[in-house]
Symmetry: C2
Subunit: 307 residues, 2 copies
Amino acid sequence: MSLIVVGTMAFDAIETPFGKTDQIVGGSATYAAYAASNFIQPINQVSIIGYDFPKEEIHQLISRGVVMDGVEMKKDKKSFFWSGRYHADMNTRDTLVTDLNVLADFHPQLPDSYQDSQFIMLGNLQPTVQMSVIKQLKNRPKLIVMDTMNFWMESAMPDLENVLRQVDVLLVNDAEARQLSGQYSLVKAARTILTMGPKFLIVKKGEHGALLFHHDKVFFAPALPLEDVFDPTGAGDSFAGGFIGHLAKTKDISFENMKTAIIVGSVMASFCVEKFGPSRLKEITKADIDKRLHQFRELVNFDIELS
Amino acid sequence: MSLIVVGTMAFDAIETPFGKTDQIVGGSATYAAYAASNFIQPINQVSIIGYDFPKEEIHQLISRGVVMDGVEMKKDKKSFFWSGRYHADMNTRDTLVTDLNVLADFHPQLPDSYQDSQFIMLGNLQPTVQMSVIKQLKNRPKLIVMDTMNFWMESAMPDLENVLRQVDVLLVNDAEARQLSGQYSLVKAARTILTMGPKFLIVKKGEHGALLFHHDKVFFAPALPLEDVFDPTGAGDSFAGGFIGHLAKTKDISFENMKTAIIVGSVMASFCVEKFGPSRLKEITKADIDKRLHQFRELVNFDIELS
């Protein structure tokens, strides 16, 4: 039951109230692959990188079961670069620089060896790029999960609507759910979005947790209260990687198992934010993950006697 | 195991995106008493009202087991009046009018018949007023719960610190926890506040739920995702009433039972916001409450297998 992860492998430069980095490795597919590799291997990666993407990072990804056949390397261009500055509350940020570089030429070609993958994670990308990956699949996979952002709602809504009709699970944040649906209430927003294609909607609320909607059912996963959120970059992608990694491992796409997958995603996000870049995701062990899963259970478990 | 509720019984005029009320009954002790009366009776009320407070409301409260011996009625003054306008997100509001009226003369006298009460809810009031109630208690009750607000942190911090040293549970919102502790991280804020007197801290986050801190333990209760939040006024007081009502009913002040109490409080808050004023709290039955407790359990329950 292998997994395809589509997204960026890139560089970020980040400023938070806790510090500032020079260019470090980032990208949605990098975070998602590191997170998912704790649960499922191989991971069939689809991305594009420039000549400057570190060989060492590639080796680390390969050593964690990430297959690079679908990662194009452009010898004459730089990797995608994003730079941002987080506000004091860490929930909002300003983009300082976006250099598309190789991303302007991203026309992913799915290797034949990827065709039997049953789980697809489409990271946030131009909707036509996401659609082109779906169209290359010879058989409909078991589950297509998709991330997107407000930028595409403003600049490419018809394309976005086309992709939405093809996916099973949509991942957006609360502001994006409101923008996509035109509804302020997240319950009403979910009802609208679930008519647009996805059968499941996950609304990410950062430090306030995440909601899963499916038909008239709803599940809430908290974020772990942390002493310090060091760098939120990649938290959503780590969440996505943990979520789909757990589903691919267990091969169970029921609502009940998606609840667990969301907790697993929240666990991976909680690790991600503890250090700059994906570095914390590379350190953690299965024991660390299990310990934190226990913490999440303790965080929300309660007894109630109903007569 | 009767309960003392101290706070305002007042009038509010409210504007929300959904509508506008003329003067309707409100006040922290009104909401808390209605909420708590579902779990424990009698409720020994301590408040002050003017000649204009409706007799019908008093009769309704008495019929729900609320004892009025500690409610002073001023024949020559009006009841406390607050008017506010909620912003579109319903999480923030502007105060339009605050007429203290009788509240300027509030020097509560605890009737002798209240002395055996083991649970005390101190609604948000001037800290010296809260303290005067504590000082009138001949024996230390089993549990003192206290609500406060940023206004007292800015205008009466030494008095507030004095009361904090006497209470078991402090209820504040996230901004107030940050202001009181000088810490942005709620985990760090809790650690600081738990050195100031309270053994338990509840941080209310409105639509984002509530956190309970005790020593190094933390519990998170979500808010129920609602289609419409009609009027948030009184939600925090209904939460407080449900919380202490459950504790007084079960006579168990362990951390484990406080988790359940917080869910009960969240249930009462979720009803409160469905209509203007306390009207929804007067309609609901035990079956309604039990059904919603089930919804909360469904909302957060997940299965996880750890090896």
